[in-house]
C-alpha cells in the first residue's frame, strides 16, 4: 500500500467508528475553530512591552476580553431561537469568534498579572465588580432580533474600529488578537449592516421594530468612547488605543447604514455613571449579576473539579 493510500484510509469519511480509537490528546483543529488559540498561543507568554505597567496591561486585556466574553454569552442565547436556520449558524459563528478572542485576552491577562490565574479563573471566579466590560455587552435583548441586530451593528462597528488601531499594538498578543479579530469583526459588521438594511427597509413592521431596537441599544453607546485611566496610560506606551478616537469612524459608519436603511439616529439620553465610574471601573447595570449567576453556576458548584 502506498503512503498515499494509507493517508486516504485514515481519512475515510464513512468510517466514523475510527474516531474513538484516535487520540484526543490535543484539540483537533476542527474544534479549535473559533477559539483563536492556534494562532497566538505561543505569544501569550511574551514579555510585557517595555515601559508598560503590567497591572494596566492586565486590566486592559480584561476590558477587551470581558467585552467579548459577556457579549458572546448573550449572543449564544440565540442558539435554537434564531429566525431561520441560516441565522442560527451565523449568530453561533459570531459568538464563537468573540469567545475565542476572550479566551486569548483573559489568558494574556493572567500571564501578565503573574498570579497563576488562567482564562477560567477570570471567567468563573471573579465577582461582578471584577468584570470590566461595557454595559452594552451585558444587556438582554430578550430574543428580539431587531435588538440583536442593533447591538451587533453598534458593537461590531466600534470594536472593529478599535481592533484596526490595535494592529500595531506594542503588545504582541493584543496585536495578534487584532489581526485575527479584524477579519472576524469585518464579517460581523457586514452581517449586522445587511440585516439592518433588510429590517429597516423591509416591511412596516420590521422598520418599526428595527427603529425600536436602535432606541433600546443607544443609551449604552456613549460609554464606548469613554477613556479609562488605564487606557490613557497605555496609549502612551503604544499598547492601547484611545476609544474616544474611534467616535468619528463609528458615527460615519452608523450614519451611512442608518440612512440607507431609512432609519433615524436615536435621540435618547445616555445611561449615567456613578461618580464617573461605569463598566471599565467594575460598576455595572443590574443585568450583569444575572449573566454571571448563570454562567458561573456549574463551575462554582464544583470547586476543584476538572472539566
Amino acid at each position: 500500500m502506498s503512503p498515499h493510500e494509507v493517508h486516504q484510509g485514515e481519512h475515510d469519511a464513512t468510517n466514523a467508528y475510527q474516531s474513538l480509537s484516535e487520540t484526543t490528546e490535543h484539540d483537533d483543529p476542527r474544534w479549535a475553530f473559533g477559539t483563536g488559540f492556534e494562532d497566538v498561543e505561543a505569544e501569550i507568554s511574551a514579555p510585557v512591552p517595555e515601559g508598560t505597567d503590567p497591572a494596566d496591561l492586565a486590566a486592559y486585556c480584561q476590558m477587551l476580553g470581558d467585552d467579548a466574553l459577556i457579549y458572546s454569552q448573550r449572543l449564544s442565547e440565540w442558539v435554537a431561537n434564531a429566525p431561520e436556520l441560516e441565522e442560527e449558524v451565523a449568530l453561533a459563528n459570531t459568538a464563537l469568534d468573540l469567545l475565542g478572542q476572550a479566551r486569548v485576552l483573559l489568558s494574556r491577562a493572567g500571564h501578565v498579572e503573574g498570579r497563576g490565574r488562567g482564562e477560567d479563573a477570570f471567567a468563573y471566579l471573579r465577582d461582578q465588580a471584577g468584570f470590566r466590560n461595557i454595559a452594552l455587552a451585558e444587556q438582554s435583548d430578550d430574543l428580539d432580533f431587531a435588538r440583536c441586530i442593533a447591538r451587533l451593528l453598534i458593537f461590531s462597528t466600534w470594536r472593529l474600529a478599535l481592533l484596526h488601531r490595535l494592529l500595531g499594538s506594542a503588545d504582541p498578543v493584543i496585536a495578534a488578537v487584532a489581526g485575527k479579530g479584524v477579519k472576524e469583526l469585518t464579517y460581523h459588521r457586514d452581517y449586522a449592516a445587511r440585516w439592518a438594511l433588510r429590517l429597516g427597509d423591509g416591511t412596516e413592521e420590521s422598520h418599526r421594530r428595527m427603529q425600536a431596537g436602535l432606541e433600546w441599544a443607544w443609551p449604552y453607546v456613549e460609554e464606548l468612547f469613554r477613556t479609562s485611566d488605564e487606557e490613557r496610560r497605555l496609549v502612551e506606551a503604544g499598547v492601547a488605543v484611545d476609544p474616544a478616537g474611534t467616535r468619528e469612524e463609528f458615527d460615519a459608519v452608523l450614519a451611512q447604514v442608518l440612512e440607507q436603511a431609512t432609519l433615524a439616529r436615536p435621540e435618547v439620553a445616555p445611561v449615567g455613571t456613578i461618580g464617573g465610574r461605569s463598566g471599565r471601573q467594575g460598576i455595572h447595570t443590574e443585568r450583569l449579576g444575572h449573566v454571571l449567576a448563570e454562567m458561573q453556576s456549574v463551575a462554582r458548584e464544583h470547586p476543584g473539579a476538572t472539566w
Partner: protein, 129 residues
C-alpha cells in the same frame, strides 16, 4: 396524528433513531395545492477550494437574496475560510439535462430543475468540507 392507544410502527433509521413510520404525512401529496410559498428561495452553492481547481457543487441553502446566500454559504460550507471562491445560483435558474433523455415520461420529479442533486463529493483539497 397517531392515536395514543395504538402502537405506531417505528424505524431505527433517520440518524438519531427510533421514529414512527406510520401515520406520518410526508408533505409530498399536498404540495403546491394553493399553498403560497413563503420561505426564502433555494440557492445552489459552488466552491473553489483553491486556485487551479474548478468550482464544485457542495450543496444548497435558503436565502432572501444572493448576497445573503453568499454570506450564508461562507458560514455553512467553507467555515469562512479565506481565499476560497464561492458562487451561488438561484436553483430555479438552472437548466438541467434529464437522465437518459427520458424527460417526456418521468413526470413525478422531473418537472422542476431546482430539485437538483446536492452534496457532490468534493476534492480533498477543499478545506474543512
Amino acid at each position: 396524528m397517531i392515536p395514543s392507544d395504538e402502537t405506531p410502527e417505528v424505524t431505527a433509521e433517520g440518524g438519531h433513531g427510533a421514529v414512527p413510520t406510520t401515520g406520518v404525512p410526508t408533505g409530498a401529496i399536498e404540495k403546491g395545492q394553493g399553498v403560497k410559498r413563503r420561505d426564502w428561495p433555494l440557492y445552489e452553492v459552488f466552491v473553489r477550494g483553491k486556485r487551479g481547481l474548478n468550482h464544485v457543487h457542495v450543496g444548497s441553502l435558503h436565502a432572501a437574496d444572493a448576497e445573503m446566500a453568499l454570506h450564508n454559504a461562507r458560514d455553512l460550507y467553507t467555515r469562512r475560510n479565506e481565499g476560497v471562491s464561492i458562487w451561488v445560483v438561484k436553483a430555479e435558474d438552472i437548466t438541467a439535462s434529464s437522465p437518459a433523455e427520458k424527460d417526456p415520461f418521468f413526470a413525478p420529479s422531473g418537472d422542476k430543475v431546482y430539485r437538483h442533486p446536492t452534496f457532490y463529493a468534493i476534492p480533498e483539497e477543499v478545506p474543512h468540507l
